[in-house]
Amino acid sequence: MVNFILGLIVCLILIIAFMLFRVQTIVSIVKGHPRVGFSNKVNAALMLILPIAGVIAAGWYSGIAAKYYLPEAVSIHGKQTDFLFWVAIYIIVAMFLVTNAALFYFAYKYQYKEGRKVTFFYDNAQLEMVWTAVPAIILTVLVLWGNKVWWNMMSIPEDQKKQALQIEIMGKQFGWYTRYPGKDNKLGRYDFRLIDEVNEFGLDFEDKASEDDFMPKELHIPVGKPVVLNVRARDVLHSVFAPHFRLKMDAVPGMRTQFFFIPTKTTAQMRAELGKPDFNYEIACTEVCGKGHFAMKYIIVVEEEKEFKKWYAEQKPFLENNPEYRGKGMKSLLKKNLADSEKNKKQKELAEL
């Protein structure tokens, strides 16, 4: 009943609107149609009023939302990109304000007036040069600066590369899994054909390096030490995104990608600073991967080196929990497969006979 009445009201409003529209049309036909009417003045005024109101509102909201919009960077490269980011933001906000102001002010100022003398101004080489050169110069500065930061991030110095902690992170529908190299600091070999419900990573235990690898529930890293994330995916594309670390790298099936970073603040420090005892650094997925894309959460724990070492020593290798996998690897799998197919072939031949 309520719906029916609501529907009736909406219909009535629409009918009234339509009647008003008809009356307006008929009146305008009777009165004749001037080329430029009063509405031109109204539109011109709105061209001035609304953008000003918009800028004031945006400025006001930017102040309020400042505490939300960019979380503190807790990696060395993150501090560099943030600085560049804010400089670039100020530049583009200036560009945005100046050009939009000119656009709307001119639109208002040069609204139609009977008998206004229009300047027949169609070309000016100097002006064109100026506004080709100015953006070009600004962009050159930003590009060169950005390029420097980019290479700081992407090229890992040799000494840091050697001492960096190697961690593997793997995405699957729908979750993240991490693997640490264990005592030998070497990640063992893997193959996707060895994956099963227990051996999620498809580790190859014919490789000695795999034997001490362990897979924790959370990603622990020591503060101030270089870390290399080795990123992989086992089904579809995913993307590792840790907003606080300014870290993002796609996880690609069949291709290993890497991201190098140095964390600068422990979880405990961050909790104290924010006054949130349950704060955690998080990893999210930023490459659409299916139904659970929005729920691929993983926790990063940054801790002092001492704590980290203690935690590291406590972790039990995969093999210790699942001793039946010892020695299982690609060679034995291929051998088994070969034997199976031979057997099948023989059986087939027998059946044919």
């Binding site: 070309d123 980019w150 069949g254 894309h293």
Partner: protein
């Protein structure tokens, strides 16, 4: 009394005579056509353009509606959506919420529909078809038949895509970019089943349509320009459509290749994009492929596509701003140069969509350099629009309002490109709402504004009637405010790191803020969408009941306004007009002494306007006069 009747019948006779004469005249250009040939399988570029337009508007409505539905989920995650069950059926799950898989399908279809069906076919298809022959002075496209095919391939593509909305597993749902392996493996999500197959079929048909159309536009512009219509005198609309068609012709085949290889991977067991995959409890046999290959192929189209969408809108805007500012477009040559520059550069920036894909950092460096170069011609265009307004005498028709709005959106969305193009900064912002804000402003909304502006401006030429202006004003202000209120706040969310294509943000501490802002944006989206209903009413109502249009309602210089109010097939009765000047002689000094007001159409010879000619035109006027005298002699 008798004489009176006699007189009346005589006058009827005379009328009849006149009519048959007129008829005979028309007969020279086209013969009587059946309803089907005239309105359905038509080869007339004007009818085809209207077909593109109506189909495009249908899709725009559908695409917009989809965005409203997923905005409800984003803005009001706790809301019960039971009332949508009659429309969406089981896609509303038992708890009365949108199914997460269907959420992704909505996002995907919204993108596909808007980018391809509305802003490529609906925009380019409509205005390239309508304006190219009318503005260059041609009777029709180079090949009316190919043109007809182009529409019907689009129609077939639309039908397939529409059907895909109704299949049991839902339409494609891997994002509009449909990256494999997600899109290649039906076991990865329901949307990668039949829906994805139909998506690929539909897009293949769509590409055929675009290529047929594009080849026709290019040929027509090169070969069928009327006498005097040199490239240097082409209106900027035509320049934009021309370069757009070239971009499409060079890039769409690459998408076709990408789609074809994906079809192979899906159906024939090849491994172009697949390698080392373990899914659904089994290891797939595919080895050696690369998902990155698909991304390169896709974005090789995908980036030019941005400009395929945008350039026609900019061309339309150039024309409308000059006409309604009653002032020549500033820097015509620079505008043409920018269009060409943007067109060329658009082919060598594609990998900026892939900065975090794990590609070589050196490549990332190169693509950042190239990407930021493209900002320069874009900036030049914006400055030239602004300067065109300076010291003009601006008439705010609805088309003009939308054009000014477009320039604002183009700037606001464009400047954030400077940040996203910078690979060091893109790492944090890639695939967040910052990107969503950026491209919805600069590409989505700006192009949509161009399309709407074009409809308001050329409606009188299309249907011989005027659209209601007051409704147009209301439509503009609601849309303009709505668009800014929806997309501007997305920047804040993007900077905070909110990833796009998320069904819900409640799972993460980092994305818990901005709940109110999300609700606010959803309300704004609903208002902006509702405003389009005003437009729809205005459009269809004016088509039949609008005020009758005069021949040249905006006082415009281009050739289409010299054609009859309702041009038949062949556009002009009698000779095609000859062109003597560029399209932007608005408010030329001393034009009144030559008997003109504030505009001098392109078909007026320079020798008829001795007082207003610029110094360099005086010489040209003499040549034109001599030529025309010569011609008269030959004909006479």
């Amino acid at each position: 009394m008798a004489t009176h009747i006699h007189n009346e019948s005589a006058s009827i006779d005379a009328l009849h005579h006149e009519h048959t004469q007129e008829h005979a005249h028309e007969h020279e250009h086209h013969h009587e056509e059946s309803f089907i040939r005239k309105y359905i399988f038509s080869e007339d570029h004007k009818i085809i353009s209207k077909q593109f337009l109506i189909t495009g508007l249908f899709w725009a409505f559908l695409g917009g509606l989809m965005s409203v539905i997923f905005r409800l989920q984003l803005g009001f995650p706790e809301m019960k959506l039971e009332f949508l069950r009659p429309l969406l059926g089981t896609w509303i799950n038992e708890t009365g919420k949108l199914d997460p898989n269907f959420y992704l399908a909505l996002v995907t279809m919204h993108g596909t529909i808007m980018v391809f069906f509305v802003l490529t076919a609906g925009l380019s298809g409509t205005f390239s078809n309508f304006l190219i022959p009318l503005q260059i002075g041609a009777r029709d496209m180079a090949s009316g038949f190919l043109n007809m095919l182009s529409y019907w391939f689009f129609f077939a593509s639309s039908v397939v895509m529409f059907i895909s909305l109704f299949v049991e597993t839902g339409p494609a749902a891997g994002g509009w970019v449909v990256y494999p392996p997600l899109s290649a493996l039906p076991q990865a999500m329901p949307g990668s089943g039949l829906g994805m197959t139909l998506w690929l079929v539909s897009m293949s048909l769509f590409i055929v349509s675009t290529l047929l159309g594009g080849i026709n536009y290019i040929t027509t512009v090169i070969n069928l320009r009327t006498q005097g219509m040199s490239f240097a005198r082409l209106p900027l609309t035509i320049w934009a459509f021309f370069v757009t068609a070239v971009l499409g012709l060079l890039s769409f085949p690459v998408l076709f290749a990408a789609a074809l290889l994906l079809i192979f991977d899906r159906s024939l067991g090849t491994s172009f994009y697949l390698s080392e995959i373990y899914i659904g409890g089994e290891a797939l046999p595919n080895m050696g492929g690369s998902p990155i290959l698909y991304q390169h192929l896709f974005w090789f189209l995908g980036h030019p596509e941005v400009y395929i969408v945008l350039l026609p809108a900019l061309g339309i805007t150039s024309e409308i701003i000059a006409t309604n500012a009653r002032k020549p477009i500033f820097g015509y040559k620079a505008m043409v140069g920018s269009i060409l520059g943007i067109g060329f550069l658009s082919f060598i920036v594609w990998a900026h969509h892939m900065f975090t894909s794990g590609m070589d950092p050196f490549l990332g460096s190169v693509f950042m350099f190239l990407t930021l170069i493209i900002a320069v011609p874009s900036a030049v265009k914006a400055f030239n629009y602004i300067t065109t307004l300076w010291r003009g005498n601006i008439i705010f028709t609805p088309a003009m309002l939308f054009s000014v709005g477009l320039v604002s959106l183009f700037i606001s969305g464009g400047v954030t490109g400077i940040i996203l193009g910078n690979n060091a900064l893109d790492i944090q912002l890639h695939d967040t709402y910052f990107v969503v804000a950026h491209f919805h402003l600069v590409m989505g909304s700006a192009s949509f504004f161009g399309m709407v502006a074009g409809i308001y401006h050329w409606f009188p030429k299309m249907f011989g009637r005027m659209m209601d202006e007051k409704l147009g004003y209301i439509h503009f202000w609601l849309t303009f405010i709505g668009v800014y209120l929806v997309f501007f706040p997305m920047h804040y969310m993007g900077i905070a790191g909110f990833p796009r294509r998320y069904y819900s943000f409640t799972g993460f501490d980092a994305f818990k803020s901005f709940v109110d802002l999300n609700a606010f944006m959803s309300v704004a989206a609903i208002i902006a969408f509702s405003a389009q209903l005003i437009f729809a009413f205005n459009f269809f109502y004016s088509m039949f009941r609008g005020r009758r249009a005069p021949q040249n309602p905006w006082g415009s210089n281009t050739l289409e306004w010299t054609a009859p109010i309702n041009p038949g097939h062949g556009n002009w009765i009698g000779d095609i007009p000859k062109v003597y000047r560029w399209a932007y002689d608005y408010s030329k000094p001393n034009a009144d002494k030559d008997g003109f007001t504030d505009f001098i159409p392109q078909n007026i010879p320079l020798y008829q306007t001795p007082h207003s000619n610029l110094p360099h035109e005086q010489e040209l006027a003499k040549i034109q006069e001599a030529e025309d005298r010569e011609m008269k002699k030959l004909v006479g």
